[in-house]
């Protein structure tokens, strides 16, 4: 292979071959490319390659260091997994854009300078929107359009930041930046949009659930984790990230509890998981950065697993509404098992991926004496347990029997889920393998008595509830069990609180949105009235009017120049 080729290019160039292939050849191509990229990462080892001079800026196409490597590795694994999952899809467009999208995400991770980063950054935005449009529904088209506008704006803001940063420092190397002024602020906002900071997050819940079954799985793995990577690279130890991350862990919980579309529930919980990573970046110690990287790794695995299992359900039943599903454990037992593995993983049970990574971030907070944020994370963990750990599998596979009888998920989907489940548990049982990949020397041991007990205590109540639930499932009457389960779970006060808080947030948000929309609509109406087709600015004025304008302008300019006459004239 070309010396120092950015692994992302392997997928991007490979994508160009996709339209030329079909059938089994294409399947082999799709599965080989991520493996090749992974091989490329480890054959290259650590270092930098591809130095060019462009407009006097030093471009560094490939830079592999431990931080980039762990993200690149998990991206390749997720790509492989996503491609297995999507193997049954016959849509050339989806395969093509998925490879471009993943390739540019990997390319961005290994970019050594900010211009390269920016190019890949925009490329991920433009390519990923086609995964949303691939649903070919009106809703998906509109959601995709909103998604595209927000993603491209993030790129534009990033570019503005980069240019200002270059003016200030004379460098475009992509290293630690730190929040110091306007330039770094713009860069932070751009990264923040992609990592779905509070109030910049709506694109995610808006667009992800509208994508195709396979599209959502692929989308959920890359965009936001790329943003987390850039944050970890450029803004470790930036204090403001801690409260931002805290808010991210908490507020999606209220929405997730209220939401009926299960893929949207997962999108909210994705947001919440990102919060942990943002907190980890904000703390900025070696342990917390390690924790962020490890959490991103584990998170991609279990979140993909959850999205894949929900995708399989959607694929087979045609709906993903909690109210319409239920009792699927009879039809899709294997999917159910995988879904539960993902669920316990996201909830952070010991022996799963979520436990060994989340614990690092929590310990980092505790080490730094940040009690408040530690408590917030604890509360959020309970919330995650509630909506992702229990709500998603429960309403899909148990609850009241919806009467839906379908086939088990296709083999390729099951294989992909098995792959992810293998990693979820593998990481949990053998954390040292993951820890070796971490950016800093790992000194952390998750399986101490204290950690395990804290975590188990937290989850104990939920586990108990879950066990009871199972019992009631076995012994219907259905209606009663449903009511009781419901009460059990949310318990009356928590549920009311959640509902009230959710409504309050929704009202305030709707109010703010309303004002914003009003302003935007006003501006658009003004411009349409003046700039629309055939309106004042777009009209062909009569020649006489045009000449009048010209003469008036001439008069003005000459008078303007004549001011100069009053000043002393240098002779």
């Amino acid at each position: 292979m070309i010396e120092g080729l950015n692994p992302g290019f392997i997928l991007i160039f490979g994508a160009l071959l996709v339209p030329l292939t079909s059938g089994i050849v294409r399947s082999i191509l799709l599965l080989t490319l991520p493996v090749l990229a992974l091989v490329q990462i480890y054959t290259l080892g650590l270092g930098t390659w591809g130095h060019y001079d462009f407009l006097g800026l030093s471009i560094e196409l490939t830079r592999i260091d431990p931080l980039a490597r762990i993200f690149g590795t998990v991206f390749c694994l997720a790509a492989f997994m996503g491609m297995i999952y999507a193997l049954h899809v016959k849509d050339t467009v989806q395969h093509f854009v998925a490879l471009i999208y993943i390739g540019s995400a990997i390319g961005a991770v290994f970019a050594g300078d900010m211009i390269t980063l920016f190019v890949f950054w925009e490329l991920t935005a433009i390519s990923s929107v086609f995964l949303i449009w691939a649903s070919r529904t009106e809703r998906a088209y509109k959601a995709g359009m909103r998604y595209l506008i927000i993603q491209v704006s993030s790129g534009v803001i990033l570019l503005g930041g980069i240019i200002l940063y270059y003016q200030e420092t004379g460098s475009i190397a992509f290293n630690y930046i730190g929040l110091t002024g306007l330039a770094s602020g713009l860069i932070l906002v751009a990264f923040g949009i992609k990592s779905a900071f509070p109030f910049l997050h709506n694109w995610m819940q808006d667009a992800y659930p509208e994508a195709t079954v396979t599209g959502t799985v692929i989308l959920s793995a890359f965009t936001t984790k790329l943003a987390i990577y850039t944050l970890a690279r450029a803004f470790p130890g930036t204090d403001i990230l801690i409260p931002i991350g805290g808010a991210m862990t908490v507020f999606p919980i209220f929405y997730a509890v209220l939401e009926n579309d299960l893929r949207r529930v997962l999108a909210y919980s994705l947001n919440n998981q990102l919060g942990y990573m943002v907190i980890g970046v904000g703390i900025g110690t070696e342990l917390s950065i390690n924790g962020t990287a490890a959490h991103a790794f584990a998170h991609i695995m279990y979140k993909s697993l959850l999205f894949m299992s929900m995708g399989a359900v959607l694929f087979r039943t045609g709906t993903i509404k909690a109210s319409e599903l239920g009792g699927l454990y009879k039809s899709m037992p294997v999917t159910m098992v995988f879904c539960i593995i993902g669920a316990v993983s996201i909830a952070g049970f010991p022996l799963t991926g979520g436990f060994v990574s989340k614990a690092m971030i929590q310990s980092a907070a505790a080490d730094g004496g940040m009690i408040a944020i530690w408590l917030v994370m604890l509360f959020a963990s309970a919330g995650v347990m509630d909506h992702s750990g229990i709500k998603v599998p429960f309403f899909t596979f148990f609850a009241h029997d919806s009467g839906i009888r379908v086939k088990e998920a296709p083999v390729n989907m099951l294989v992909a889920m098995g792959f992810a489940a293998f990693f979820c548990i593998g990481i949990g049982v053998f954390p040292d393998l993951l820890y070796q990949l971490l950016p800093y020397e790992p000194t952390y041991h998750p399986y101490t008595a204290g950690h395990v007990i804290t975590s188990l205590q937290l989850l104990l109540f939920a586990v108990l509830a879950f066990a009871l639930l199972m019992r009631y499932k076995v012994y219907p009457p259905e209606l009663r069990s449903t009511n009781l389960d419901f009460d059990w779970f949310y318990r009356v006060p928590l549920k009311r609180l959640a509902l009230a808080a959710g409504r309050l947030i929704a009202t305030v948000w709707a109010w703010l949105l309303g004002i914003g929309r009003g302003i935007v609509a006003g501006i658009i109406e003004k411009t349409v009235n003046t700039h629309g087709d055939g309106k004042v600015m777009a009209r062909t004025t009569a020649s006489s009017t045009a000449v009048m304008i010209i003469v008036a302008a001439l008069g003005f300019v000459v008078v303007f120049f004549y001011r100069f006459l009053q000043q002393p004239v240098p002779m």
Partner: protein, 498 residues
């Protein structure tokens, strides 16, 4: 220099001028087209030779008829004019390669001889403006260019009669512009007694405070602003571009307005001098608001257009806003951005208009409503359009990015609220460009193909030149030695040697 190559400066202007009447004598298609293309190719070759000579040996001065300047007419080739000569002749040649199929469809056969004669005259005018070092000679070439372009635009009447009114309006407004220029030159002549640009520049400091000079500056700035379609003097441009034959639009979009910009740069930086233009006349205060209003307002107007040619025409006015902004910033990096963008925009916009020409050839219309699903009917052409559109937006790897980069750098250098405000507005206007290009993409790819529409590409003789422009645009977006290198040297020369 050999005997022939020492005559290169005059060859550039005289060869197309002499070939024009010959063309007019022929009827039929092939011969006039072949003659025009070959002549244009020759000017391209000669322009490159001249540029090489300038780079190696410095500016070339050529005395017309052996009369020494300032009495005789002097032709001057320096970096800036050499750059313009290459740009104009290259675009003209590329467009002509494209033109055969396109123009036989759009202009009746009996007019083709005249058409190509007028084309050669327009080419003569543009090249002449750039090469001459005499302010009155500039006016002569300006009129040659303008009169022939009125005729060329009017020849779109075969497809749409509105071409006639468009050409007539352009005639009225263009003549006003040219007259203003002539009045300005006359006033300067009154004060200095010379028409040679270098000579005027040398005498300028003695008389710069005089009242006629101030009036002259006003007339010249406004006159040229009309010629280069600076907002709000752009009224003639959208209609002319919309109704002219496809290749004429592609040719003029890349060259005609750029020649106006060239003249403006010449007068502001060479004749008036930087210190006088911006220190005394404070041109920034006039040009900057117009440039900003131009690129914002015209981008918005472009969004609502229903005709692709008109959409691109408004986009051209907006892009001219960028070009003028670079001048208005009155700095070396600003001027560099202007010169780079003249080149980059010319290539991108000509490529876009050529791909629209392909669409018109097949679909018979350039209204968005008639082009539903054109992306699937003509995949190669439409993909070219999209790539060109990316250049217009300023996506990295395209030349638009290079220009915008320098423009932003210049704005930041300008500093203060205005500088940073400009950066924000430039970003906004990029987003507006995304929207107006997107409207075409949406129609092209997301609408169903109307029933009965055939799936057919334009002939290869049109596709290849179109893609030549698109490929060139990406080449100059990545390998920037030529455009950025020359622009940098030119800007340094104009700012320093004023």
């Amino acid at each position: 220099m050999t005997a022939l190559s020492s005559q290169f400066p005059i060859i550039v202007a005289i060869v197309p001028l002499l070939a024009a009447p010959i063309c007019a004598l022929f009827r039929g298609t092939t011969l006039p087209w072949a003659i025009t293309t070959i002549i244009s190719g020759i000017t391209f070759y000669v322009s490159i030779q001249l540029m090489i000579a300038v780079i190696q040996g410095g500016p070339i001065s050529y005395e017309l008829g052996g009369w020494a300047p300032p009495w005789g007419i002097e032709y001057v080739v320096d970096l800036l004019s050499g750059f313009m000569l290459i740009l104009i002749s290259a675009i003209s040649t590329g467009v002509l390669l494209f033109s055969r199929e396109s123009i036989t469809r759009e202009v009746p056969d009996h007019q083709l001889g005249l058409f190509f004669a007028a084309y050669l005259l327009a080419l003569t005018g543009m090249l002449g403006i750039c090469i001459t070092g005499d302010a009155f000679n500039v006016f002569v070439f300006l009129e040659i260019m303008s009169l022939s372009s009125y005729a060329l635009i009017a020849m779109g009447a075969n497809e749409d009669r509105r071409a006639l009114t468009a050409a007539f309006q352009y005639l009225i407004i263009g003549t006003v512009g040219a007259s203003f220029y002539l009045i300005g030159v006359g006033l300067i002549y009154m004060m200095t007694g010379t028409l040679n640009i270098a000579d005027i520049a040398a005498r300028f400091p003695e008389i710069e405070g005089a009242r006629p000079i101030l009036a002259a500056a006003g007339f010249i700035v406004i006159g040229l602003a009309i010629k280069l379609a600076l907002f709000p003097f752009h009224v003639w441009l959208p209609n002319s571009y919309t109704y002219a034959p496809s290749i004429i639009t592609a040719f003029f979009a890349g060259t005609a307005t750029k020649v106006g910009v060239y003249l403006l740069i010449r007068f502001i930086f060479t004749v008036f001098g930087v210190n006088y233009s911006f220190g005394g006349l404070e041109l920034t205060d006039i040009l900057l608001p117009l440039a900003v209003l131009g690129f914002l307002s015209m981008s918005v107007v472009a969004i609502y257009q229903t005709n692709i040619k008109r959409l691109l025409a408004y986009s051209s006015v907006a892009q001219l806003g960028y070009i003028i902004l670079g001048i208005a910033l009155a700095s070396e990096s600003g001027l560099m951005a202007t010169i780079v963008h003249i080149f980059n925009h010319a290539i991108v916009k000509s490529g876009l208009f050529l791909s629209v020409g392909c669409m018109f050839y097949v679909a018979g219309s350039v209204y968005l409503k008639d082009l539903h699903g054109i992306g699937r009917r003509m995949p190669v052409t439409t993909f070219g359009f999209v790539l060109g559109g990316l250049g217009l937006i300023g996506v990295p790897l395209t030349p638009g990015f290079i220009s915008k980069w320098y423009l932003v750098v210049a704005s930041i250098e300008h500093g203060g609220v205005i500088g940073y405000g400009l950066v924000a507005l430039l970003m906004v206007s990029s987003l507006l460009a995304v929207i107006y290009i997107w409207r075409v993409v949406e129609v092209a790819y997301f609408r169903d193909i109307p029933e009965g529409a055939e799936k057919k590409e334009a002939p290869l003789s049109m596709l290849v030149p179109t893609w030549l422009f698109i490929a060139a645009s990406f080449y100059f977006g990545i390998e920037t030695t030529f455009n950025v290198g020359i622009a940098k040297a030119t800007a340094a020369f104009l700012m320093g040697g004023s």
